[in-house]
Symmetry: C3
Subunit: 139 residues, 3 copies
Amino acid sequence: MTTKCHTEYLWFNTKKLHEFVNITDEVERIVEKSKVADGMALVSAMHITSAVYVNDAESGLIDDIEEWLNEIAPMNKDYRHHRTGETNGYAHLWNLTLGHQVIVPITNAKLDLGPWEQVYYAEFDGQRKKRVIVKVMGI
Amino acid sequence: MTTKCHTEYLWFNTKKLHEFVNITDEVERIVEKSKVADGMALVSAMHITSAVYVNDAESGLIDDIEEWLNEIAPMNKDYRHHRTGETNGYAHLWNLTLGHQVIVPITNAKLDLGPWEQVYYAEFDGQRKKRVIVKVMGI
Amino acid sequence: MTTKCHTEYLWFNTKKLHEFVNITDEVERIVEKSKVADGMALVSAMHITSAVYVNDAESGLIDDIEEWLNEIAPMNKDYRHHRTGETNGYAHLWNLTLGHQVIVPITNAKLDLGPWEQVYYAEFDGQRKKRVIVKVMGI
């Protein structure tokens, strides 16, 4: 079978410094446009102070995740990175904790996700333009 | 070359709440069936309270991993997620810490893993049916 | 379009026990050799005491990352894994924290990375030969 590749970029400019955005429907829409029936969709943050992860669309859990990130890598710590003038050292560590990308499997032209799996863009240093690449590859 | 895609699902129903299962041989078997000689195998948990990771098949280390997960995200904490009736808030955070998927490279029709690399399914909220997707893509 | 696969291995033998090596240019060179114009490059550590991640090429941040890893999984702890004679229990946990692999998207025959995204090999138990696989797949 002939391999197809299809690439789109999602843009974000969140109102708040931290924001968790469910992007499952947008990834599904891009996969539909790709005409790929069997393959993989890479969903990858193009910035190093945000994350892309798969988990539950439950608001209490999302607050738990943010509180937990702040426990293991506190926002108010004096990171060496701040000597450059930045104030977002914690956001780099949160990116590394959650990861900046996932691969969503595609089967029968649909996202092949489990019952509670949702794809999230997590912004840790928002209020500016940020981008996520979605690259679909398959047959 | 023609691209092949081959998909199988591994089912788990662990006896214990937490269990670390070495699935390397099962992934190898699926790759053999796929007839892919060069490519990638996505191994991805379809649930948000378990993980798929690559590390050592050493029982002491596996106990270290579980103890460490419980230190950075304790089981016995009163997570907001528990307001929904759930009791597995920690398991969501452990999933996010270890990650829910890996890509295993395939070269010469074999898993192209380093000397100590083994693929693990880590169950954090077991005693129920859970699933992992293995999707092989390549030539 | 015909699918291409191209695989190379990067070897490391760091002078120090811990070392963070920017491998972006080497990945770019391998992608050029692959002649893949649209696809993905898997960059994956073949050892379980090192990591591959994407983040900033800023030395203060790199020191922050190492300090943070040592806070959440201390080097000087008596891990069960050490009963085997090993002394690198922390390095396994650091590998799991940062992750052992990334997928770099390829568009127009170039790495499709954001403005600050750099690919790093992070050695946590060096002064010995280690390997990273780079597998490029696409059209």
